[in-house]
Symmetry: C2
Subunit: 336 residues, 2 copies
DNA sequence: CTGTTAGCGCCTTCAC
DNA sequence: GTGAAGGCGCTAACAG
């Protein structure tokens, strides 16, 4: 029924090995036979069976990527960059959605490993012991992304969520904001959010705000951001800036302020994190932290390719940095 | 190095066939040997190699899904529903991003087919001839989604984008809107958008608006929606409703109105399509067309499972319907 | 119920 | 440069 490599070999009057060589671009094949074989391939409409190739070569040409939520544009961008680079090398990306749940992540890793991927990409740098163990034991290259750590499973590419939050907090202080509240999203298992909060704490400590920091925690949704506004307005001390752990929370907060007729940033300034397209579009524009996620994905792809090509060592940790985008949702500073 | 099925068999003192049976839950294995084998599997930490299984059984337990843009939450929801159903049956989903480009779709389909997936999910119902041919020739179940057609490759699950746009237009007319403009997104190769426009035309025809329909075309982005507002305001006839082909366009339009101090819906009403979370959060709430995409994905999954289990026939076309969500961005009607 | 035997389609030595 | 042969790890008859 379906035409196999052996069929091609027969038609071209060569051994299967030769066809295989042509297929994989080995140099030691004479031009004439190469041409003949390739003609047959075309004529017969032969398509290699990558499952068989994977078994024989123990290289499947597949890389697994785990993200916490498919449909979240941030992670989509990373995957896009990753895929762009890998596709050029004939590698396909298989995506897993672990929904911010470590045990789901573990299950997916276990499942995916049975498919013998050539490498793995994980979002975040915190994974449970079993997951780390399985991955290490598999012996394939692993890259963790979207944050930084000094103790990666294998290698890591991202930016310091901690430092970004700290820098944003300090900048807002410089701009004149004095009474801040931090709005975290409920996510015990999201290291990026956790580090952003820690970065906020660090900045507070540096500023000498050693007493009760106001920290709220809400679902990472527009209504979660709205709820934060309500809480803050009822707070005894007059909060003048809402530092939201995500743009979604921040946008929800801005919407709520619009509804209540609260001036942003006049009465309450709002900052976010992620620089989604929405951040630039909304009124007022949202001050936020920006990262080139596509580039991050591309770097991840290159790291994997390098590891796959044998060259160990090299960079095991790459910081792609971040940028703070100041927009109208926060004050331009005392001098402005 | 890695433990294989043969290793387990040796340790359990049974044939490889028996281990295979235990693995695949065949009934004809005595409880005692089953227990013994399973003990060995645990002790040795055996994990089956799905690549080898795929080759031997010519079932890979993989389904490929093509979406036009990873990171677009709409498609993420569909994939989520699809994955939920398939995972329960040990099937993994491999996602491809074809970026609204037919030739990229064709290339991805060709690549993916070499991995011998058990089935395929495609977004949309329009694909080029080569793609359709390859898919048909592969002989595996195919389901197309997110729209409807009478000529599916195999089967289709979705809703009529045409009818939804038509219904929305007619409803808006009923609500008192008389001078509409349709804002399409630039996408020659997006059948959903195309059908929405046709549905608008159909409604216009029914309403006797046979003369010059105002139709704009902009990039599917917030700024595209903003640009549409500018165009409409300069239009000689006073447009009172912007029918946007997507929520993103509509939200961009609302933002632009906010900037210009234009009352929505008083001066200009705005409606969208997709019912993103943003539609309910924004001020005013966005009137839009809603579809249960997760459910749609689940239905797609069930269709595939049914096809895979041999039972042909059954439903080859399932309409999951749509709902119009009226919110404050359009008028409540003459009676309100 | 269970062991044995062929492959699945391809890659990869190893001789020629 | 090229053919032949031996697996890769597993499933699926087929005997017993």
């Amino acid at each position: 029924m379906t035409v196999t490599l052996a069929d091609v070999a027969k038609r071209a009057r060569v051994g299967t090995g030769t066809v295989s060589r042509v297929l994989n671009g080995a140099r030691n094949v004479s031009q004439s036979t190469r041409d003949r074989v390739q003609a047959c391939i075309l004529e017969m409409g032969y398509r290699p069976n990558l499952v068989a190739r994977g078994l024989a070569a123990s290289r499947t040409g597949m890389v697994c990527a785990l993200i916490p939520a498919i449909g979240a544009p941030q992670h989509g961008e990373v995957i896009q960059g990753l895929g762009d680079v890998l596709h050029e090398h004939g590698i396909q990306v298989m995506i897993g959605d672990c929904g911010y749940q470590p045990d789901r992540e573990e299950a997916i890793v276990a499942d995916f490993l049975e498919r013998r991927p050539d490498a793995f990409y994980l979002t975040g740098v915190v994974h449970n012991a079993k997951t780390r163990h399985m991955l290490r034991a598999s012996g394939i290259p692993i890259v963790e992304g979207a944050n930084l750590t000094d103790d990666p499973i294998d290698c890591v590419v991202g930016y310091s969520n901690h430092d970004a939050a700290r820098a944003l907090t300090l900048l807002m202080h410089k701009r004149g904001h004095r009474a801040m509240a931090f709005v975290a999203s409920t996510s015990e298992h999201n290291d990026r959010i956790g580090d952003r909060l820690k970065g906020y704490y660090a900045a507070c400590a540096e500023l000498g705000w050693d007493s009760r920091h106001l920290v709220l925690e809400n679902a990472n949704s527009f209504s979660g951001g709205a709820a934060a506004v309500e809480r803050v307005l009822r707070h005894p001390s007059q909060i003048d800036l809402l530092l939201c752990a995500t743009d979604v929370l921040a946008v929800g907060a801005i919407f709520e302020c619009q509804r209540r007729g609260i001036d942003v940033p006049g009465r309450l300034a709002i900052a976010g994190f992620d620089d989604l397209p929405l951040a630039a579009a909304i009124n007022p524009g949202l001050t936020t932290v920006s990262v080139d996620r596509i580039a991050m994905g591309r770097v991840a792809g290159h790291m994997l390719l390098q590891r796959l090509s044998g060259r160990q060592g090299a960079h095991a940790k790459i910081d792609v940095g971040f940028t703070i985008r100041e927009r109208a949702s926060t004050c331009a500073g005392p001098e402005a």
